[in-house]
């Protein structure tokens, strides 16, 4: 029926739910989720720490954070994946290297590359959030006897996080999608699984459509969750972004 141009590609969607293909897909999905979740948590922590450091007046802290951000966000993620997989383990102390090899060095190299790269990008998002808060909030905290760190932790960062939900969502979706690059260093994540099915069955369209739909569902789910979070933590009385209900 698809005889156009003399091609006759025959759809066979059933390749997706016969074993071992289904198991590959599910394992791939599970690896993608683990890789994304662990990397996301580390990236958010790095983003908060270095994003906050970029806003303090203490010069050395500011300088360290600037170097981190500029160094990691300006080199392609693919290069970082190769670096953390092929390069970095060579210079690790032996015990660390052995630990990584025993616990799946591909996976942990992927975590390192993705979390540090996206941490540097999230740091910029968080910096802009903190800088959107009037400086007098810091002064209010300090003048009440809180230290700079306490003021950041109790006031500036919680407020900034509420302000940056939309760009942070965007960055989180990028992180999730970028986990697919980890297949290049041999992490058996979702895209890797799709490619594997394609290799064994020659059913590229089916395999890649399955992967695409799964990514789509994951991304939409994350968007929805972030939307809920934004509403739940919206500061009462201030206009909640996207709802426009209050004036």
């Amino acid at each position: 029926m698809f005889g156009l141009f003399g091609l006759s590609y025959e759809f066979r969607w059933s390749v997706l739910w016969v074993d071992p293909h289904l198991t590959w897909l599910l394992n791939g999905l599970s690896t993608t989720l683990r890789l994304a979740a662990i990397s996301w948590i580390i990236a958010v922590l790095l983003g908060i720490i270095f994003g906050a450091m970029r806003t303090v007046s203490f010069r050395p802290a500011h300088a360290i954070a600037t170097v981190y951000v500029e160094f990691f966000r300006n080199v392609p993620l693919l290069v970082w994946l190769f670096f953390w997989y092929f390069g970095a383990p060579e210079v690790f102390p032996e015990f660390l290297k052995q630990w990584f090899i025993r616990h799946g060095i591909e996976f942990w190299s992927g975590v390192a590359a993705i979390s540090i790269y996206h941490g540097s990008r999230l740091a910029e998002v968080i910096r802009s959030g903190i800088q959107a808060i009037p400086k007098t909030q810091l002064e209010a905290g300090l003048s009440s006897g809180l230290s700079v760190i306490e003021t950041y932790r109790l006031i500036l960062i919680p407020v900034a996080l509420r302000l940056i939900v939309p760009p942070a969502t965007n960055e989180s979706l990028n992180l999730l999608k970028n986990t697919s690059l980890a297949m290049t260093i041999g992490v058996a994540e979702l895209t890797f699984a799709a490619r594997q099915i394609e290799t064994y069955t020659a059913k590229a369209v089916e395999a890649l459509t399955a992967a695409a739909l799964i990514y789509l569902v994951l991304c939409l789910t994350i968007s929805m969750i972030m939307n809920k979070i934004e509403r739940k933590y919206a500061i009462p009385g201030l206009i909640a972004r996207g709802t426009g209900a209050e004036h």
């Binding site: 909030q137 209010a140 300090l142 003048s143 009440s144 201030l238």
Partner: protein, 242 residues
């Protein structure tokens, strides 16, 4: 309680405080006034070291601010500050704003902090707004919460930087009333304000600043009736006519 000895401060090449000498005793209520840019805010922000001075010495409650071993956060806990723009924490309710520093800095139990916080909200006249967020309060209410928040630390000194300048006229008095009561209770206060009625009724001393200098430092009676300086007279004539 507060002493300035030969204090000078520059912002870059701008000389904002010029050889300030000043001594303020316990229970004094000092009003600071003067034209915009004369250094009033800078003067009081030096007292809790939100601004650093380049030379001279400031002594607060017997402690030199420039001392190497001075624990500045400890000192700031003793000095309450109220800002023109209220500066309440937007993500916390009125009561949460008030109990934050007592719990974190004074290490009060939550129960005790809550009790003190509720009492203070009653004292500033808005006991029914405990769970309101700042953006849900009027300017006058926000400023009263801000005063309650500062008082919750049981400070020895209260600094006010134009506390009523951002308020609609009908809300100014509710804030001034709270400040008047505080003065009556014997709080040591420094208040930057152009509310000359308040200055007249409540202050024990009025300081007039211009171009980084203290030009006048008088009791309210003398300040209004026989100002020494030409520029004070000019300033008063402008401010009292409207």
């Amino acid at each position: 309680m507060i002493e300035f000895r030969g204090v000078n401060k520059w912002f870059g090449s701008l000389h904002v405080l010029k050889d300030i000498n000043l001594a303020i005793k316990q229970r004094e209520v000092v009003v600071v006034c003067g034209p915009s840019g004369s250094g009033k805010s800078t003067l009081i922000r030096c007292i809790n070291r939100l601004e650093r001075i380049q030379n001279g010495e400031i002594i607060v409650d017997g402690i030199s601010l420039s001392g190497k071993k001075t624990d500045i956060t400890k000192l700031r806990a003793e000095v309450g500050m109220v800002f023109q723009q209220f500066n309440l924490y937007p993500h916390k309710t009125a009561l949460e704003n008030i109990i934050l520093a007592p719990i974190w800095v004074r290490k009060q139990s939550r129960a005790k902090a809550l009790k003190i916080g509720k009492d203070l909200m009653a004292k500033v006249g808005i006991p029914d707004k405990l769970d309101s967020y700042p953006a849900q309060l009027s300017g006058g209410q926000q400023q009263r919460v801000a005063i309650a928040r500062a008082l919750a630390m049981q400070p020895k000194i209260m600094l006010f930087d134009e506390p009523t300048s951002a308020l609609d006229p009908e809300m100014i008095n509710e804030v001034l009333d709270v400040m008047t009561n505080l003065a009556r209770e014997g709080m040591t206060m420094i208040v930057i304000t152009h509310e000359m009625g308040f200055a007249h009724r409540v202050s024990t001393r009025i300081i007039f600043m211009d171009e980084g200098q203290i030009l006048e430092d008088e009791s309210p009676e003398l300040f209004f009736t026989q100002p020494k300086n030409e520029r004070t007279r000019f300033f008063l004539s402008k401010i009292l006519t409207h």
